[in-house]
Amino acid sequence: MSTAGRGATSGSADTATPLLQVSVRLPLDHFDLEVDFATRARAVGVFGPSGAGKTSVLRAIAGLEDRARGRISLGDEVWLDSAAGTWVPPERRAIGYLPQDGLLFPNQDVRGNLLAGAARARREGRHVEELFDTTCRLLELTALLDRNVATLSGGERQRVALGRAICSGPRLLLLDEPLASIDQPLRRRVLPFLRRVREQLEIPMLLVSHDPVEVQALCDDLVAMQRGVVVANGEVRDVLTDAEVLPFSGHEGFDNVVHCTLLEHGAGTSTVQLGETGAARLTVPKTSGAAGDSRLLRVPARDIIVAINRPVGLSARNVVPATIVRIRSDGDLRMLVAELGNGSPELAAVVTSEACSALGLEVGQHVYMIIKTASCDLYDSPQESQSE
Amino acid sequence: SGASSDASGEVLVFAAASLRDVLQEVGTAFEEEAGISVVFNFAGSNVLARQIEARPIADVFVSADERWMNYVADLDMVAPGTRTTPLGNRLVVVANSDSQLRLGEVAELADADFSFLSLADPDAVPAGRYAKETLQRVRVGTTDLWSQVHHLVVPAPNVRAALALVAARLDVVGIVYRTDALTSPRVKVVLDIPDSMSPPIRYAVAAIGTQPTAATRRWLEFLRADATRETFERHGFLTFEGN
């Protein structure tokens, strides 16, 4: 659970995903950007406070920062190597860039904007019509296709810009706060779409986000930045539970986002099995879909209550036996990471240090995790091999 | 569609712009009689001379004075033996048609009540130069009339512009060609300047190039024909025999 060092290669061991190596220096107004990381992850989150340099990193990778020095490569392609004098112009980097402020083309309607990269997508061997249709449907853009972009609402603009990046057939997606001004229900619908883009189109992505849920739902690796440098880099859960990156007492806290498989539907609830072969089962809010379907399950770490005896007479439907495998502390809080048995992923629960010592919790102890059905949140997840 | 002197049955005439109406009339008559078309290029004589220098495609040059013809002749571009001065003009003093100005003779300009003397540029335009020379010949007291009035001179780029100024202001007097004065509204002739007081005012005509075409020769002859002379005179020009 240690934070991977700077410059180290990490992430899921999916060898199909090309290695993205970024090692750039770029002078900014108050400090220099000095970023060093490498990843094979299919999706990398970029996380950090306002002004940390997240957008600048994306721009450097896209080839939009002339002053960037160092080395950037994706797989075999070297995009920047200032020592060797190599600089590949943006149009030959096959990147789908969603800038933070959309930057739609005002002289084209929504359709024109979405298709602005269609020529490249075709060159890259994408089936543009299908991609376009899917994108329009899932980003709910179909009704907007003939609209002038000048009168779009903020959320509409953002979705068009996202769609444009996806429809351009990129080999790497750079998404700068893709869901920032999108309302929650829509965000719930767009997230699985982005996951599908990542899985089915096999487009690796770098994603700037302020939302840990988004990051966990989409990313394998996370790069945390502060004042121009990478302060932590590694698997999402490791970095997010790092107290330096995100104090887990923060009002977003840490959310478990794990893979699960739909088992059956009950009266007002459904039942899922954690992981694909896992033994642990949970009762969750009623969802649609057939038995065997994959889903993402989100449970905030602080929503999980830990009990040393099996409790009774509770509104909480799920009481899952578990074994504590790690205890991590942040100030007065303790994060207990517990395994639920064969094939099920680990779950983290946050409790106060007081509670921890009052109950005498320690590594190796058998406990019960009490999880309310209402605390469980399900997201669609494409049919795919497990990646969490 | 560039002009070409070789085009059979065509004469390209570069002529001073003030001759436009009369030459067009003459040209039409020539075309009817000879079946040869005449094409004109009307501009200031200096412009025409420089164009001839730059690209000698003109068949005939009609200059408003000898000076710009000399310029062309110095370049060895005048066909030997074709240079003549068949046309002349006369200067008049003009004033706005509402003006009260009366003049008995030119010398009275020295005391006349006007603010500006409108001339074609005496340094550049023939009409202006003739006017200047005329005024220089008039003695007024210990000096000549030019010295008395030259500070009032407004040099115009051409005679028309000089006339337009006279038409625009009551306190402007002009010295211009009689032919131009006659076709200008809102302007009246205050005084005819006798030929004897001015230097000879002559238009120079010559064929350009070493070997004038037959058509060119016919045009030069036609310019001296009696009917043509009548046309010129009807427009107020003076005509001269020979040389």
Binding site: A62, G63, L64, P89, P90, E91, R93, A94, I95, G96, Y97, P99, L103, F105, P106, N107, Q108, D109, R111, G112, L115, A116, G117, A118, A119, R120, N148, V149, R164, S168, G169 | S1, G2, A3, L12, F14, A17, S18, R20, D21, V39, F40, N41, F42, A43, V47, R50, Q51, E53, A54, R55, P56, I57, N158, R160, L163, D180, T183, S184, P185
Partner: protein
Amino acid sequence: MDTVTLTALGLTLQVAAAATALVLVPCTLIAYALARYEFRGKALLSSLFGLPLVLPPTAVGYLLLKTLGSSGPLGPAALGFDLGILLTWKGAVVASSIMASPLVVRTARVTFEGIDPRLEMMARTLGHSRSKVFLRYTIPLASRGLLAAAILGFTRAVGEFGATVMLAGNIPGRTQTLSLAIYSAQQAGNDTEAYVLLGVAVAVGLIAILGSEKLSRAPLRTGSA
């Protein structure tokens, strides 16, 4: 309208259109370079395209006459062949082009300076080369201003007199544009004729400007790419 006027009108349209066409592409490119890039000699290039304005057109015409004349650096003697510009309608095109280019360059440049360069970079990330971005994004985004530049150039060409009379001559039916015809009529003291010609020139200008107003009021967006 008599045939002389009609010919002059036709010739004027031909010359002004040719001059505009001739000037538009290079001036647009130069304006773009001036608007977007910093390079050595930029200020000089900008000045070069401003100079025809500071000189009286006849002086420009005079210089051109010398340059293109028989013994000039671009004359037949120097080149070994005749460019066929002097005293032809092409001369009018050259004269008008040179006098119009400062206006076109300036207006196009101001237009380009008003366009967010990040839009162009965005288009490049979508896989379009620099030149394609220029053609398919910059130009459409600048279309309104470029239209204004073209109209300015066109109307300036219609009104061009000083340099044209030197370079092209004033040959009715061949090089006499409306402006030259107006001059001729005025020189002959033929005010009525001059007014008719003035009216025709004004009509040409009105139609061009009103047309451009209509065009540029059309919505900016060009539909799907």
